[in-house]
């Protein structure tokens, strides 16, 4: 693993250095995965503040558990597993997670975030996009988590099942439920 190009491509090199106590290597891993972990948390919680806090905490826990990472999964998957556990435990504590909190309203001001007010997240019409996110956020927790892992993290059924601690059949059932609900709630509002 001496080719600089490969060093940049793979986490393994940086993980090995971080496990040896190199804090700069860990910081490199943070910068590399921060957007993915944050987006994952944000889709699960529907809130910038929650996602910000959970994403940071996930990295802190990863740092403190680096010696336990054996490379059996990708480093990014391991980070998401930690984040998912945090989301779960907070949801258990709160029971009423702020699912109705819509992204545009929970963002800090544009001065703090560097984004323009009303700027759409992607190519969609902003109103449609907001409605879509709100509907996804209102899905039951397991359906939402399954949908996020399958669609946005592009995991296989087996990977989702392993992360969620359930069977592949349950993953398929949750996806079917989620999509049918979204289809019913959003399909006719075009």
């Amino acid at each position: 693993m001496t080719d600089p190009a490969r060093m940049n491509e793979n986490d393994e090199y940086w993980v090995a250095r971080a496990q040896a106590g190199d804090s700069e290597a860990f910081e490199h891993l943070v910068r590399r995965h921060q957007r993915g972990v944050y987006a994952f948390c944000r889709r699960l919680t529907g809130s910038h503040d929650e996602a910000d806090d959970i994403a940071q905490e996930a990295f802190v826990r990863a740092y403190r558990s680096m010696d336990r990472f054996r490379g059996e999964s990708r480093f990014g998957t391991w980070l998401r597993q930690i984040a998912l556990n945090l989301v779960r435990s907070r949801a258990r504590r709160k029971r009423r997670f702020p699912l109705v909190s819509l992204d545009p309203d929970t963002l800090p001001s544009d001065a703090a975030t560097g984004t323009a007010p009303g700027q759409p997240g992607g190519d969609l019409d902003p109103l449609r996009s907001r409605l879509l996110r709100a509907t996804v956020c209102e899905l039951p927790e397991k359906q939402r988590r399954t949908l996020v892992l399958k669609i946005y993290e592009e995991m296989t059924h087996a990977e989702v099942a392993r992360l969620m601690g359930c069977t592949i059949g349950t993953v398929k059932a949750n996806l079917f439920h989620a999509l049918r609900r979204l289809r019913r709630q959003l399909g006719d509002r075009r």
Partner: protein, 195 residues
């Protein structure tokens, strides 16, 4: 093939949960049925829409400081934990013993209380137990959407799963198999590949 079944299969196909054989049957039906084709296109559009909806990016300022904020948290943890680590470990061990004893006492009291009461069936998470049973029987493709559909007669069965013990689930599964036989639904063949 009925249009009601097709519409369930469309959703299963979108989530890669339909076998290759059923995918072929679905496509054959879609070629002949304009209404289901429209339904399929709309469902696919929605799927694409969901998949391509990006989360709002908090902006460059946020990302520039993210790693340093993580670093500060790590340092704060270290500073709070390191100087009194041995004391903290000892205190925590004592605390854990107290909690363990308290938990054991609670378990004992609850167990004694339950001995005097008739046993109630455990409550299952409906989706999981139903999906597990169906998956184990390799009938997922045919029954999964049907069993979860409120329009379907099997919806009653789905509701029942909330209140069943494992033995009752087994008995109900036997009943369900008989229902499948009489309903004319084809059993899933072993050579089916789930794409």
């Amino acid at each position: 093939m009925k249009c009601t079944s097709t519409r369930r299969w469309i959703l299963l196909a979108l989530t890669d949960s339909l076998s290759a054989r059923r995918n072929r049957k679905l496509n054959e039906h879609l070629e002949k049925c304009p209404a289901c084709r429209t339904e399929s296109r709309q469902a696919r559009d929605l799927w694409e829409e969901i998949a391509h909806d990006e989360t709002r990016d908090p902006g460059p300022t946020y990302w520039q400081s993210f790693a340093s904020r993580v670093r500060r948290r790590i340092d704060a943890h270290d500073e709070a934990g390191a100087p009194v680590e041995s004391l903290a470990v000892a205190a925590r061990a004592g605390e854990l013993w107290c909690r363990a004893l308290a938990a054991a006492a609670v378990v004992l009291v609850v167990a004694l209380a339950l001995l005097d009461r008739p046993q109630e069936p455990p409550i299952f998470e409906t989706d999981e137990i139903l999906a597990d049973v169906l998956q184990a029987s390799e009938l997922t493709d045919e029954i999964l959407p049907a069993a979860f559909s409120v329009e379907d007669p099997l919806a009653d069965l789905y509701e029942e799963f909330n209140h069943l013990s494992p033995k009752q689930v087994q008995r109900l599964w036997t009943w369900l198999e008989q229902e499948i036989d009489t309903s004319g639904l084809p059993h899933r063949r072993n050579d089916d590949e789930v794409s």
